[in-house]
């Protein structure tokens, strides 16, 4: 017997596990497999658990293909015959093959002893094997006989009138397998001539009392035997003794018990009168003067003696017997007859086929008899083979457990199932809970207490029994119950051969359910208990015992302690945490993790052995560290977490509820400082990004332009607009914005959700009277008094709440265009072309900027300064070999970029300081390029 150990992880199940035996069939079947072909099979199952895929193979089962042909022909016999008479020889052909078969039949008088010729020798069918041909059409082959079944024939020899007494002739009868002619058997029969009386005996059996009413012969039924005797000879027979010994084994050699029914004997010539079973008395005498003596020996032999029987006379003796025990199969019963002049001669074999009958007893002991009509086993049980666990001291169909248990502990009920049927059976097991607490699980296991009975069934041969155990595991929250708890369940055994045959037994727990002697509590880290009460109080009136508040990304620490009561047995406990109070699954919010550490800071998953003494508890201090992800939302209420210490040894456990709340982080940022240009009379539109760096939704906060530094001088006026359609361009529909409450982010919900961004434009209008070259600055500022979804709040970081825009007033005839391109590998060569479009790039990538200043006027532009700033979250990048260092061309000629940060620095990039600019003639172009690397 082999159990598969193979649990493999597999990404996919593309093929099946292949062993040495090919398991995959092709298309339609062509021919029978050759003898000795092994048909092997092995099933597989796949499943996903915790995100991983597994494959498991079952055990291998094998079947051998073998067509075996075999036959038994019964039996050699010698019979007397009168000259000119017919003599009948019954034979039985047993198909001992393992498949259906047809057998050729032949009879042959040639050879052997032939004192006289037989006029005729024919074989007739006798399917019911009553010794009388079913028809007088001779046969030369049997019909198809099922494997294991038999077929009867009667061979009839016709004796010539010229045969003389004492002459003997023999003949053979042969049965041969048509599929395998080497399989053959021969009987030799002998006809012996006499002119004395010849008693022919036929035996017939029929169902007399059908105890189970199924119309078939089965256990408990009563059979009526009719023995028909007749004198087919020429002379009278004297001292005729008919004997019928009831068999004690069936055809397969298994024991059977057939019990003669006392007083059931009846003689045809004395009808209605029960024959006495005692010996030595004459029962009756018939009209021909024949007297009968009749006796039974023990309960199993019937002997009838007729003092004389005239030729041509016949009669019957009948009696009954009960089939007390017999396996499914055929019982052959041949009676015999002898007389003063006739040697003992057999009747036909008269087989009786006993049907299979299923019968099971499931109880707290093995059974020797069937369950009584009450349905409760007791007197039919054998207490010498009783339950190994029963505490109620009696074999009474209830297996009782009285030892106290903890909540969470398991108890074992050992019971016995007996197959009282007359053939092998498979017993299907089932259990119905009546009173055990909700959540109790039940498993069937083998008597070793461990090995599961997968499929809940066991095979039993007829008459055998087996112990089966039920392991009942109480849930860890089973309430404490005083003894006797009175929990019960019903176990049912059902026969697979006959699903109507079932038997039940009860299991009963009469001990007490006590709280496990283990406590899990909060401490203050120094051993003093601060929360969680002993056993059972999982929470504090529905609330967590302790709540700790942390910021996102931080870890909440709960010092905990497990203690085992003084006097309790040593134990060890696994440490677990879950959001699910029942721990059916380990359920934590996304991104959360819980780990346990001992007092030395070593990560642990169990307490190790804890051994209290008789007077002092065993105590184990540890801490649970709950890590909250950096993107955890504000949660003042807190997420409940159940901590549990659970013994893998006996299920004792204690559970308690704590909670972790997440602080609200309020921080909104605006970026970045920007330098822009505008001609007098023109407009500078400067985009800025507002980002919610906190963990709650911002719903309000004042946004103002020029709050601390208005664009003064030059008459520039500015206002802020919200890029409502998020297209990066100030459209007609983008509204004026003065408060965060006006923002509906990309998630279409009002306010700015954690992590969400919104674009705002500062639109600065430059009057036409403004002077060239002047720079004006103005700020865009978010108030630090904000409103979140949870109410009023203060921005915890006001350093990022303001940006400063610088507007440079440039010549109206100058047009400046700023383009950008992504240079992902920072080699100085952008992958794409420069454009005005928004780009996306990753940290570590570079962006190349190209500022193009064109003199679209008709006169020289003097003191031209092109300036820009390294954007926020980037640094200036020179690229290898300065390939992208700031560069300037003026009308094609190489110029210098006088103002720039160092490589990897931030700050202004300008062709020169103010008042030190270059000249650009009409139609000419200056291009300033520089690159920045996005911060990682």
């Amino acid at each position: 017997m082999r159990f598969n150990p193979g649990v493999k992880r597999a990404a996919t199940l593309s093929g099946l596990g292949v062993s040495a035996i090919a398991l995959v069939a092709g298309g339609a079947l062509a021919a029978p497999p050759p003898a000795d072909t092994v048909i092997g099979n092995q099933a597989a199952a796949t499943y996903t658990s915790n995100g991983e895929t597994f494959t498991v193979q079952s055990n291998l089962v094998e079947t051998v293909v073998n067509e075996v042909f075999d036959v038994t022909l019964s039996t050699d016999q010698t019979r007397d015959g009168a000259p000119g008479s017919l003599v009948f020889f019954p034979h039985t052909i047993d198909n001992d093959s393992n498949t259906d078969e047809v057998f050729d039949l032949a009879s042959d008088a040639a050879g052997g002893t032939d004192d006289f010729p037989l006029t005729e020798l024919e074989i007739f069918p006798d399917r019911d094997q009553d010794g009388v041909p079913d028809s007088l059409t001779p046969i030369s082959e049997t019909p198809a006989i099922l494997a294991g079944e038999s077929y009867g024939v009667v061979v009839r020899a016709t004796v010539p009138s010229t045969a003389a007494p004492s002459e003997v002739t023999d003949f053979t009868v042969t049965a041969t397998s048509q599929s395998d002619p080497s399989v053959t058997q021969t009987n030799t029969d002998i006809v012996s001539i006499t002119t004395d009386g010849i008693i022919d005996l036929l035996k017939d059996q029929s169902l007399s009392v059908d105890a189970d009413g199924d119309g078939q012969v089965s256990l408990g039924d009563t059979i009526e035997v009719t023995l028909t005797y007749s004198n087919t000879g020429i002379g009278a027979a004297t001292g005729v003794i008919i004997t019928d010994d009831l068999p004690t084994t069936n055809k397969a050699g298994d024991p059977v018990t057939l019990d003669y029914v006392a007083g059931s004997g009846v003689w045809s010539d004395n009808p209605g009168v029960a024959l006495t079973d005692a010996s030595g008395n004459t029962e009756a005498t018939n009209a021909q003067g024949t007297s009968l003596q009749y006796e039974t020996t023990g309960a199993t032999s019937v002997i009838a003696t007729l003092d004389t029987l005239a030729p041509g006379r016949s009669g019957t003796i009948s009696f009954e017997y009960e089939i007390t025990s017999a396996l499914q199969g055929t019982i052959e019963n041949t009676a015999t007859v002898e007389s003063d002049t006739q040697a003992q001669t057999s009747s036909n074999p008269s087989p009786v086929s006993v049907d299979p009958s299923a019968d099971l007893v499931m109880a707290d002991a093995a059974a020797t008899g069937s369950t009584p009509a009450s349905g409760v086993d007791g007197a039919n049980l054998d207490s010498s083979d009783a339950s190994a666990s029963d505490d109620d001291g009696a074999s009474d169909d209830v297996t009782t457990e009285s030892a106290d248990v903890f909540a969470g502990e398991s108890m074992v009920f050992d019971m016995v199932v007996t197959n009282l049927g007359n053939e092998s059976d498979t017993v299907l097991l089932d259990i119905a809970n009546n009173d055990f607490p909700v959540g109790t699980s039940f498993d069937f296991v083998a008597p070793d207490g461990i090995t599961p009975i997968v499929g809940d069934r066991i095979e039993l041969t007829s008459g055998s029994s087996a112990h089966v155990q039920v392991v009942a595991s109480l849930p860890s929250d089973a309430p404490a119950t005083g003894a006797p708890a009175g929990f019960d369940a019903t176990v049912t055994a059902t026969s697979r051969k006959d699903s109507g045959v079932t038997n039940t037994t009860g299991i009963l727990f009469n001990g007490a359910v006590v709280a496990p002697p283990v406590d899990l509590v909060n401490t203050d880290g120094a051993g003093t208990v601060t929360g969680g009460v002993g056993n059972g109080a999982v929470d504090d009136g529905g609330d967590p015992w302790q709540t700790r508040t942390v910021r996102p990304g931080e870890t909440a620490v709960f010092p905990l302690q497990v203690s085992v009561d003084a006097g309790a047995p040593a134990n060890t406990f696994d440490l677990v945490a879950s959001g699910d109070a029942n721990f059916a699954t380990i359920d934590l919010p996304d991104g959360w993790s819980v780990e346990f550490y001992d007092t030395s800071g070593v990560k642990i998953t169990s307490t190790g052995a804890l051994s209290p003494t008789a007077s002092a508890p065993a105590v184990f201090d540890y801490e649970a560290r709950v890590s909250v992800p950096a993107d955890a939302g504000a949660d003042a209420v807190g997420t409940g977490l159940y901590f549990r210490a659970e013994s893998p040894v006996n299920g004792a456990s204690d559970t308690k509820l704590d909670s972790v709340a997440v602080e609200e982080v309020v921080d909104v940022a605006i970026e970045a400082d920007t330098v822009a240009q505008s001609a007098p009379g023109g407009v500078a539109i400067v985009p800025h990004t507002i980002t919610n760096l906190g963990n709650s939704t911002l719903t309000g906060g004042e946004l103002s332009v020029g709050d601390s530094d208005p664009f003064s001088g030059q008459g520039i006026t500015a206002a802020a607009f919200y890029d409502a359609n998020d297209d990066g361009v100030l459209d007609a529909n983008d509204p004026l914005i003065t408060d965060l409450s006006q923002i509906v982010g990309s998630d279409s919900v009002a306010g700015l959700s954690p992590g969400e961004q919104a674009r705002v434009f500062v639109r600065a209008q430059v009057p036409s009277t403004a002077s060239y070259g002047i720079q004006e600055t103005g700020d865009l500022t978010l108030s630090d008094s904000l409103t979140t979804e949870n109410g009023a709040a203060t921005d915890e970081d006001t350093a990022n709440n303001t940006v400063l825009d610088t507007i440079t007033i440039i010549s109206g005839d100058m047009v400046i265009t700023k383009e950008q391109a992504v240079d992902a590998d920072c080699d100085g060569t952008p992958e794409g072309s420069y454009s005005l479009n928004a780009l996306s790039a990753d940290p570590g990538n570079c962006i190349a900027y190209r500022l193009i200043a064109d003199n679209t006027g008709t006169s020289d532009a003097n003191d031209v300064v092109i300036n820009d700033t390294v954007p926020g979250f980037t640094t200036l990048e020179h690229c290898p070999a300065d390939a992208c260092a700031p560069a300037l061309t003026i009308d094609g000629a190489v110029g210098t970029v006088d103002i720039a940060p160092a490589d990897e620095g931030t700050g202004s990039v300008a062709s020169s300081a103010q008042n030190a600019g270059f000249s650009l003639s009409p139609g000419s172009r200056a291009v300033l390029t520089f690159s920045v690397e996005i911060d990682t």
């Binding site: 995959v24 298309g27 339609a28 079947l29 092995q42 079952s58 599961p452």
Partner: protein, 162 residues
């Protein structure tokens, strides 16, 4: 009285049990049994299938039990149809709600009746049903996850070539 008796002893078990040590807990317990389906006068019965004849019908019984603490998602039981046998249609059975599918060489798993496309002599593409005798394996995909401690059972029959 010549008898020809041939018996080949190779029997392997039907129905096996695990003997894991206490320390080792396998997440899945499985069991496969094979029985011979014997027709009787009034029905049929299952007998041990150690040695069978061509044309015999075998029944395979499969049982699986989740012995872990986690539910098994997408639990699928696969029963191969061994060489020298063919699947008997409508003999499949499972005790949990599941999708029953069959595998034919060259096609994907599909619910019976399995069809394939064939081209006629004149080039027309027709959908043709593939007989159950061509199945190389069958499977049951459970509709719900198999919870801890739960069992899933399936059975099917094949006929040995004759």
């Amino acid at each position: 009285m010549k008898n020809r008796v041939t018996s080949i002893a190779t029997i392997l078990c039907a129905g096996v049990f695990a003997h894991p040590s206490l320390a080792e807990v396998l997440p899945v317990e499985s069991r496969m049994d094979v029985s011979a389906v014997i027709k009787q006068a009034d029905g049929e019965t299952l007998r041990p299938a150690d040695e069978i004849v061509p044309g015999a019908v075998l029944q395979y019984d499969l049982d699986y039990r989740n012995a872990s603490d986690e539910a098994f998602e997408g639990f699928t039981i696969v029963g191969p149809v061994p060489e020298n046998t063919e699947f008997l249609p409508e003999t499949q059975n499972a005790d949990r709600r599941s999708v029953f599918e069959a595998k034919v060489e060259g096609l994907d798993w599909a619910q019976p009746p399995v069809t394939r496309y064939e081209t006629d002599a004149d080039g027309t593409l027709r959908s043709v049903e593939v007989p159950a005798s061509a199945y190389s394996a069958v499977r049951w995909r459970l509709a719900e996850p198999l919870a801890p401690r739960e069992t899933a059972s399936a059975a099917y029959r094949v006929r040995v070539a004759d």
